[in-house]
Symmetry: C2
Subunit: 354 residues, 2 copies
């Protein structure tokens, strides 16, 4: 793709704050780069995208995002290879998905050239913030918020599309044990769980807080109608390995169609691993624990890439997973990061040069 | 309740903008009074509430409300009687409910004295914005937003509790026909539909837009598991009159426990109207239409008070309701507004003097 950055306004910072940043001690999502992208929607169309110094937003207290949650976002990562070239991983998927989220939230879709042109320009400008070396990434957060003033529950006629970037190490540390949801739910059938909508996240905080008090780090959500089928975790899709088979549930209007998930499925199938995409009953997990056929569980998502799950809790009982040699989790994590950091061939065309 | 407004900072506007407002032509929720209340949560506690001139907010682009929808709100109305005294309607219910919403969204609860002290002070300061006369009200919007910067899906440690006020005429104009949801849903079992959380509203915009294209003004949501039972409308609870019986569905974790709803139930029972609070099947509505026993449907909510529903659509068919004499809808609307405007005895203690 060519960077014919027409109609893009760039206002550079006077002096970079990069010198003040301790790149070895970065709490996830806390530090932001020098610039950000802003594009305003007004009078029925998206205006000129602007790259400007990272700065606060000024909004009316009645802006709709505060009252009605009309907001969507994306999350992707930029990587730097050993030669100093920066890459994104499948940003076309994130672009498609944010527009899918927009449609469901009654937000006008964002033009493709605006997205890629401004994304590239922003990342090139802040390229020093992408550090080479395993685990170093730049987390890129496109998002859209409804800015029109007015406390009336109706779609906004004004929006801001923004991209902010945060240098990051890996997201989850330590061992992860999950609680399988028995009562609380993340998304409704016919709702918008498939969208990366702001409103899907805050509702998970309280149940997750309760789960943490029981010694779990995350919740694996189940379907809201019966709580019999596992769905996904807070910000990860979930995979289960039973015997040598890899299982994951189908995406639906309740479940986010994860980029990492679809990449894992492609990698697995290419390596002759049998992948079953079908509803997974909690009962099946429990049976597999008894039979000793439940070998692995892991989450997949941009932030953590692959996150092994050591155990789970369900109806008061706790289950530990065995330690396996040559786990699928570590294999896929290596294969994905090798592609992301340009250490291996990219036969799928997933790398996107910045 | 006494107004011992300790610890409240008041900064008044220099000159009021009230003279520029056309009170006869007020689009709902568009114009705001001279002052607003702001109270910040930081380092584990709520600070001193401040009444300050209505003004924009400045927030970091990574503030959690923009990304994770951690935000709740309330809606209530102030009325002025013919003697110039201003009143609120059951604000204790709104206070209790916003804290219930806070808990579910992992937001710290707000202290009762802070709420009532600052509310009273604010409304007394802006009392000229409450106009006497039927239909004139001041819509009062308390809300809480997560302000801590950081793109990590975890509860914020900083919040703003605010109250803004907007003079209003009645909310819905004209006839309302509703579409009964067949596919889309508003809330999940085990979710947070019962909370007045920002995230519950934006998800309704797109389905409502589609319903509008079919000639309806609102959607009546059904349960997300079977779509067989009616639940509530966008910002209203729903009542059905079959014969002379009044029906409304029970509140649940999917349904907002409306203040107007509980007031209607109390009024109805006191007048000897039989009220059944139980799940209502769509099939029952269809049967009642055939038998000519479906006499009325109406919504109840702060914005509209009582909103008669003239007809509904379901699976491609449209149903019109008969015009009834002495409708329950108009009776309850009159009784409620008589209490609200201090035109009748307040035997329930619902009026709250400002
Ligand atoms: C709810 C949810 N599920 C799954 C994922 C994983 O998606 P992806 O692999 O595209 O990051 C995410 C996002 O990161 C998410 O928010
Ligand atoms: C979803 C929903 N249902 C019902 C209502 C009615 O509640 P109340 O009568 O307290 O205004 C509202 C709010 O106004 C609402 O947002």
């Amino acid at each position: 793709m060519d960077t014919s950055v027409k109609n893009l306004i760039v206002e550079k910072i006077k002096s970079s704050k990069i010198g003040q940043v301790d790149f070895d001690n970065l709490p996830f999502g806390d530090v932001f780069t020098d610039h950000m992208m802003v594009c305003d929607y007004k009078n029925g169309s998206w205006g000129t995208p602007k790259i400007i110094p990272y700065q606060p937003l000024t909004l009316d207290p009645s802006a709709r995002v505060f009252h009605y949650g009309q907001a969507v976002f994306e999350g992707m990562k930029a990587y730097k290879d050993d030669k100093g070239q920066a890459w994104l991983f499948r940003p076309d998927e994130n672009f498609r998905r944010i527009n899918k989220s927009c449609v469901r939230l009654a937000i006008p879709e964002f033009p493709e050239e605006y997205f890629f042109d401004s994304l590239k320009t922003l990342l090139r400008l802040d390229v020093e913030w992408i550090k080479p070396g395993e685990g170093n990434t730049l987390y890129v957060r496109p998002f859209v918020i409804a800015t029109q003033p007015g406390v009336i529950a109706a779609p906004s006629e004004e929006y801001k599309f923004m991209i902010i970037c945060s240098p990051a190490k890996s997201y989850y540390g330590g061992e992860v044990r999950v609680k399988i949801a028995e009562k609380f739910s993340r998304a409704a059938d016919g709702g918008f769980g498939f969208a990366k909508a702001a409103g899907n996240y805050a509702g998970q905080f309280y149940p997750t807080k309760l789960a943490k008090e029981e010694g779990f780090q995350q919740i694996v959500w189940t379907d809201s109608s019966t709580h019999e089928y596992i769905e996904e975790a807070g910000t990860m899709n979930v995979f289960v390995r039973i015997g040598d088979k890899l299982l994951t549930c189908p995406t639906s209007d309740r479940i986010l169609d994860g980029v990492t998930r679809k990449s894992v499925i492609a990698l697995a199938r290419d390596q002759g691993i049998e992948v079953e995409i079908r509803p997974i009953k909690v009962a099946e997990l429990l049976d597999a624990t008894k039979n000793n056929t439940l070998k692995e569980m892991f989450g997949s998502g941009t932030a953590a890439v692959i996150n092994p799950i050591q155990g789970f809790g369900y109806k008061g009982d706790k289950y530990e997973l065995p330690k396996v040699e040559n786990s699928y989790a570590s294999r896929f994590k290596k294969q994905l990061t090798d592609i992301q950091y340009n250490r291996s061939e990219d036969k799928y065309g997933w790398r996107y040069k910045i």
